[in-house]
Subunit: 345 residues, 4 copies
Amino acid sequence: MVIVMAPGASDAQIDAVVARVTEAGGEAFVSRGDERAIIGLVGDIDRFHGLNLRTYPGVAEVVRISTPFKLVSRQHHPAMSTVYVGETRVPIGPDTFTLIAGPCAVETPEQTLAAAEMAQAAGATLLRGGAFKPRSSPYAFQGLGETGLRILSDVREATGLPVVTEVVDVADVELVASYADMLQIGTRNAQNFTLLQAVGEIGKPVLLKRGMSSTIEEWLMAAEYIAQRGNLDIVLCERGIRTFEKATRNTLDVSAVPVAHDLAHLPVIVDPSHSGGRRDLVVPLSRAAIAVGADGIIVDVHPHPDTALCDGPQALVDGDLRELATVVRQFPSLLGRAPGQPLGV
Amino acid sequence: MVIVMAPGASDAQIDAVVARVTEAGGEAFVSRGDERAIIGLVGDIDRFHGLNLRTYPGVAEVVRISTPFKLVSRQHHPAMSTVYVGETRVPIGPDTFTLIAGPCAVETPEQTLAAAEMAQAAGATLLRGGAFKPRSSPYAFQGLGETGLRILSDVREATGLPVVTEVVDVADVELVASYADMLQIGTRNAQNFTLLQAVGEIGKPVLLKRGMSSTIEEWLMAAEYIAQRGNLDIVLCERGIRTFEKATRNTLDVSAVPVAHDLAHLPVIVDPSHSGGRRDLVVPLSRAAIAVGADGIIVDVHPHPDTALCDGPQALVDGDLRELATVVRQFPSLLGRAPGQPLGV
Amino acid sequence: MVIVMAPGASDAQIDAVVARVTEAGGEAFVSRGDERAIIGLVGDIDRFHGLNLRTYPGVAEVVRISTPFKLVSRQHHPAMSTVYVGETRVPIGPDTFTLIAGPCAVETPEQTLAAAEMAQAAGATLLRGGAFKPRSSPYAFQGLGETGLRILSDVREATGLPVVTEVVDVADVELVASYADMLQIGTRNAQNFTLLQAVGEIGKPVLLKRGMSSTIEEWLMAAEYIAQRGNLDIVLCERGIRTFEKATRNTLDVSAVPVAHDLAHLPVIVDPSHSGGRRDLVVPLSRAAIAVGADGIIVDVHPHPDTALCDGPQALVDGDLRELATVVRQFPSLLGRAPGQPLGV
Amino acid sequence: MVIVMAPGASDAQIDAVVARVTEAGGEAFVSRGDERAIIGLVGDIDRFHGLNLRTYPGVAEVVRISTPFKLVSRQHHPAMSTVYVGETRVPIGPDTFTLIAGPCAVETPEQTLAAAEMAQAAGATLLRGGAFKPRSSPYAFQGLGETGLRILSDVREATGLPVVTEVVDVADVELVASYADMLQIGTRNAQNFTLLQAVGEIGKPVLLKRGMSSTIEEWLMAAEYIAQRGNLDIVLCERGIRTFEKATRNTLDVSAVPVAHDLAHLPVIVDPSHSGGRRDLVVPLSRAAIAVGADGIIVDVHPHPDTALCDGPQALVDGDLRELATVVRQFPSLLGRAPGQPLGV
């Protein structure tokens, strides 16, 4: 942390800042220039924040420097992590490219199985599907709940695909974890800290979507909440941010992938379905995600998108899926990545 | 809802849309132009959404028209509502202007009482104070919990001010409601739907902050989640939205006050402390809030902001408070509003 | 400027930065902490920028501190400036509140005169009106050009109101200045630097609208472009910024008024018509603008908004104008401001 | 265009709207529902806009439907266009992938030649370089002007690479066009309509950068301004938009490439240097741009970035360039694109 004094700040004002920092157990280094002085602080940043040095007389600005996340930071853990999902240990990490696919919402056993088979044919090694759906409107379809979880579990039995599914309520974490292989935190819960802590304690891998208006730093801080409870099996998921552009539902921030990889040792995947909100963008955005360096993608598929109860307009149908399958076969190998196949039990 | 067909869409394609809508219990009205046809839909909009008409051949665009919220809408409830808080029934509504003030976080009995007395001297008739604090970083001060609630309760006893305090977890709703007179939902939980439903069931007034990236429509929809559970004692709170501008912590969207008043019958207040994040902006933004038509404001005060554990830089001190007291006395009367005094038991 | 070195940066790396800064005529002060070193720079910031110190080995971050604008800054000119417009010297500044009103676009002599009389009746002391209109679409009405300027000049003759009008092209600056009393730079030209320099040289007061996506710092820097050419008669105009919210055309950033007043000595006014884009918001936003401390407002009026060639939906009609007149009479006096009446020749 | 009437609008109100539209030469089709009526309009949309139907009694909303650009639209020109640059006719279009590279600013003949040779070695077939630089601060380096153009022309002579360079002032368009093979319009001039018209008349290909806060629709409308003056040799360039995220200078909107390709027949390229503003992001974002379907990229290179006068931190150096060369050789072929080699005179 650096304290910038105003031009003309007095020695007494500078001394007051130094005294407060020292009192709080930190060290303060003063640099005097012609126009103004600068004070460098070393020690416990969170402690310094509590001092409210910005309000001291003569202080012009307080500049924070150290990264505020620790456990997920690459600073003390430079090697990239791989997260393994399910009994068959499907990897998500730096050496592989993993396709996660399935229906946005679980509706019926038939629809879910059909979607899973489409996903698997396209190269998916993990199944996504929503049993609990957070919806902006209370009048929209909210998911089948435990019935949906049971369907997902049956489809895992039938296809061998481990299951990724969202949890929206602390009270449901144990229930969802008893069925799922990986718990998803959705964009609307990106700063629901009690939920983050709850999934941090349950001992299953977590797929953490970026809040639609979270900075990359806030996203990593959300991951830190999970990590702090003892769970480092976290996969970050970029899914588009909210901007002024309305041609797409959100703006896919592909730069977030290399930026997050640079700051944290966690895998990063991309959701090309929810970011664009348009079926015709899913394949191009999937290519962009692979090319920018994502460790995987998560894609909506549906056997009959025109009757889907949720986000049908963005679900891939058969023809698109064949194109996606080709993309997933060809592009990752250019970046030295193998398919995200299960390692086996 | 209006369906816009692409130029050159065939009669069969138009008929398919009409058939689907009719089948779903709606009515469809076709208007044919030289270049393209337009289909107006009448009936259950939510139902129509499920049809995914955007994916039908020949459909260029689907335009939603009806407002998606119902219970909080002025369409069927044109008169503005007043919400009464506490046993002494402090009003928030169209005829009054209510000042809510207190410390961002409850730290000690002394600090809370001192802040409450400052607030009261400035004209506040409700006390704010955080016992549970949602913080971006897991390393930041998270609040005193139940101890904080007890302090708030004691200070209510001493000052007569009803208490507004935040709840961040479904598991705490009953506990918080047993101490507080009004439950606050913070900006990070603006789309935590299970929490919204839980406070909707507990039967106490709710202060619903706008999500920092929620549209006004999404904010009203969040209110609808509460209303749906039988609680219409909801006060909306504009607290700044996330934009590209970095001179202020958030951008206070004053236009949201008249826009929300136009759409919903709920009171709307403004938080000038958290929107600007700067002490020097609190009084000017308070004046703007009153002038634009807000039904109240909620302001941070602290007896010793330089040692505050949370958001000290924006807390008002004595001198500013006297200025605020003058503003709160003078400006609302120009708009025909009386002070928000308790009606008595 | 402060250089933050990475943890573990070597002495040689620190020395290299110091050497480069010294070579460039600056001074460098090194503070060493346990984890990392910080280097404070004193001297010519623009020069330092050219050094690209961010690219030096061991450098983690470069933090800019000094304000980058000079002539418009309050740092060396703490007293607020008043700008006088027209031969009758209508003031815009800290002691007055000035209402500027008129039609968005000049259409006919009759419409312009009628609008000017409406404006004057409401208390306006300056007339606005567009002869050159920058429009997003090349197919939209682009203004009457010199014919429009002549109409404005005739209406000034008839009413005594000095004229504010927009210039969109360097080639037109002399022509527009020969008719107008104040030149307006619109939001789309907020970073058209050659146009800013051209109006800086012409010797007439300038009304500088904020770019719809300009930060406050960029806005002041645009003013600096004008000031650098010898013209300090600049009035800043906040007119809404581009955000994710779509209920209003733009989001009026009222906080920008006190923030700009804090940084620059220039007057700041607000455009409540173009920010909201809705007639029903003009009066509430005008009240908010006055209350937050604006030195004036600029408002669209039109005798027949339903046939206006430009932005009719936001133009005030008779009834609203009477309300606005009351507001402009009552609110500024609470803040100690007199009406912006001409001082006389 | 669709007019949505308020619930309870009277027949007389509906008739008034229909009468006005018919009077203006359009056709109006009324659909009556249980709750409200909808009126579909067919005819000249721009004309309808002028009618300000939103202000008519009983009108709740006006919804625009038709695309507002014509000449650049794919609606009447479904085949994608190829633009040829320079005497040797370097193509930018659907069958090729074209690398444009060079220094952000022309500084000296040696630096420019060295950068051009680096660019060519990496596979570039067009040279970029700024002689006129629009800078936010009037105190920053503004470019060498005509001296810079002469250097670019000499380097073209030496290397055979056609030259792309920015023009910032209508007064310079002829001068710049006399040296350059392609004129660039920068992001700050994206709505400088007189400049757009001027380059539309000069008869050289234009590289049109997206405004940093332009919607895709506004960007295409800017292209329409150029096209209207008889020049359809326009290449669109996505260069990042302004959002709340601050880890990157701007947020590269890769989705804009397929969206613009879907709406307009013009080639679309990407600028990975200015969007990220960080050297370490240039190669990953270049890969993403190719993969999403861009027709080319434009990249900053500099022989000595640590002494660059402009944007050094993002300029590629030798090692990165070799990586970029590999990417440009491998990725486009997966999408069936050949290198953008000159066709020859």
